[in-house]
Subunit: 321 residues, 2 copies
């Protein structure tokens, strides 16, 4: 939960006046999101989300994120849509930070996704990939295979504080993945962080995708691998193959996998597990003084990584290999 920056009422009123959304009626900080400050804004035209981009987001990346959301919304993907101010800009400045206003999206994230939610997520992810096919901007994925070694090196000396032997295990894993990582798979814009808290549902119907601030250009199937990790393990970290099958078949009902994607899915899933393991390990070992957010336990992703390491083919995920 987070509101890092307080916004004065007068300053906000001036910011809101840049848009054609009527007078400001209410605003409240939202206790969600760990990277940015978010506010619910009510004006005469309705409800909106105001985001102030804090220091973990590179301002140079903001046009990519905002243009992507507009592009997707234009293609019928339900996602927050940035408002264009009267000066033609989507990005403004508020309380000394880059800031944007997006449409408010109904729906709730599901704390305990069921198979039906995984199927809907798979379909929505494939639709998102298809909608992004003609999005022309490119953003390199700094958290894909070439980014993992510097991350590991920053944590290696203290990795065994988290689990005995962790440093050696991760070094070996990374060496394997660097060698085995596929060089060429269907590529496009991916969400790269489609965890349950970024997917809204109304009952069993998926009502929207949010939080595109890790979106980048990478293998489409890597996005699927991230979702397998994020949606298909139970609370006890056992893998639910029924949910995985539903997710993958949901995806395939909209966009089928190529043979190469199919064959490399276990490696992509290992890589996705390592990616979240490495960032959580970094955050775990570097909790800032006075942090408002408890870091997530990196060992969760160690267990997931080990599961995928044992997977020989997509049959481990419930599909016919």
């Amino acid at each position: 939960m987070a509101v890092y920056t307080d916004v004065a009422d007068e300053e906000l009123a001036a910011f809101v006046a840049r848009y054609d959304i009527g007078k400001l009626l209410s605003f409240k900080g939202i206790a969600e999101g760990v990277e940015n400050s978010n506010f619910l804004v009510h004006t005469e035209a309705g409800y909106f989300i105001l985001t102030l981009y804090e220091k973990r987001v590179d301002p140079k990346d903001l046009p990519f994120f905002l243009e992507l959301m507009r592009h997707l919304a234009g293609k019928g993907i339900t996602c927050p849509t940035p408002l264009v101010a009267n000066d033609g800009e989507m990005l403004g400045t508020l309380a000394g930070r880059p800031a944007a206003m997006v449409t408010f999206l109904d729906g709730m994230w599901i704390r305990r996704p069921r198979t039906v939610h995984c199927a809907a997520l798979g379909e929505a992810l494939a639709r998102f990939h298809l909608a992004g096919a003609d999005f022309t901007m490119v953003r390199r994925n700094a958290l894909s295979v070439t980014g993992w070694r510097p991350l590991l090196e920053g944590s290696l000396a203290r990795a065994d504080e988290v689990a005995p032997g962790l440093g050696a295990e991760l070094s070996e894993e990374l060496a394997y993945l660097e060698a085995a990582w596929p060089g060429n798979l269907p590529t496009g814009v991916i969400h790269a962080d489609l965890f349950p808290d970024n997917v809204f549902f109304l009952g069993e119907d998926l009502s929207g995708l949010i939080d595109f601030y890790f979106a980048c250009t990478d293998f489409l199937a890597y996005d699927v691998a991230i979702c397998l990790n994020a949606w298909c393990f139970e609370a006890d970290l056992s893998f639910n193959v029924t949910k995985a099958r539903a997710l993958l078949n949901g995806y395939r009902s909209v966009r089928d996998f190529t043979d190469a994607e199919f064959a490399t899915l276990p490696i992509l899933a290992r890589g996705a597990a390592l990616r979240f393991l490495l960032t959580r390990l970094h955050d775990w070992l570097n909790v800032p003084e006075g942090a408002l957010v408890t870091p997530k336990d990196p060992k969760e992703y160690l267990k997931k990584l080990r599961f995928h390491r044992d997977a020989q083919s997509v049959s481990a995920y419930g599909l016919d290999g």
Copy 2:
């Protein structure tokens, strides 16, 4: 800012179903309030605020607070109104805590109140006092004069850590106030915490009062004294007599002071300053491990207390004594 308790989507849906407000469409934690967890809830019937009462609120007091809000709303005071569930109750249980749903109020709190806001606040406070005149429930003010000695005793040993000589100064002040505190002034339900963040405005128009969780039965003029402290000092802690005059004359335009209230206002203002000084001192000396909220500096109220100690009569507050 605070959301202390996470609420699962399914559990919330069941809670919402107890009210006649249609299906749940969205809910978001609000980063406001330091005592309770608050959520903005959107249903087919509109927007509402869900409050989960955390441990600093005594569940025995909740009927007083909720009945008061309903009473005031019935008298035309704009304030959050608790919804009555289908079982006839305003209070329910969610995530193991007492919980209530209230109407959503438009408006924003003013970070830097101007004279016009102080005048409106004075009027609204007097209207609130008149509307409460026939409210029959009683709640003793645990933070009035009889409650200050135990508070001071808990902090006395370490008071001088905050400012040299503070312990002696507060002991002397308390002895004076215990002796000089008026025994009989017009009494009724008071808000007791009407700081700027509990008063909503739309432009210069006061649009509502919120947060009745310190409301209690005490001298009406003590509520005015609390507001003088909370609204009429500038950021540099100089007293703005123009704002005080506006606040008091706003109040008098709706409900005039008795002679006794008029004469004792400086003492009530000293008491109000001491009350917030003592609770802030306690919080400052007892920051819990892992606290999400930075305690407020008690020295702010020491300076305010000293101002009121020098006030000989209401002429210090801009009125003709």
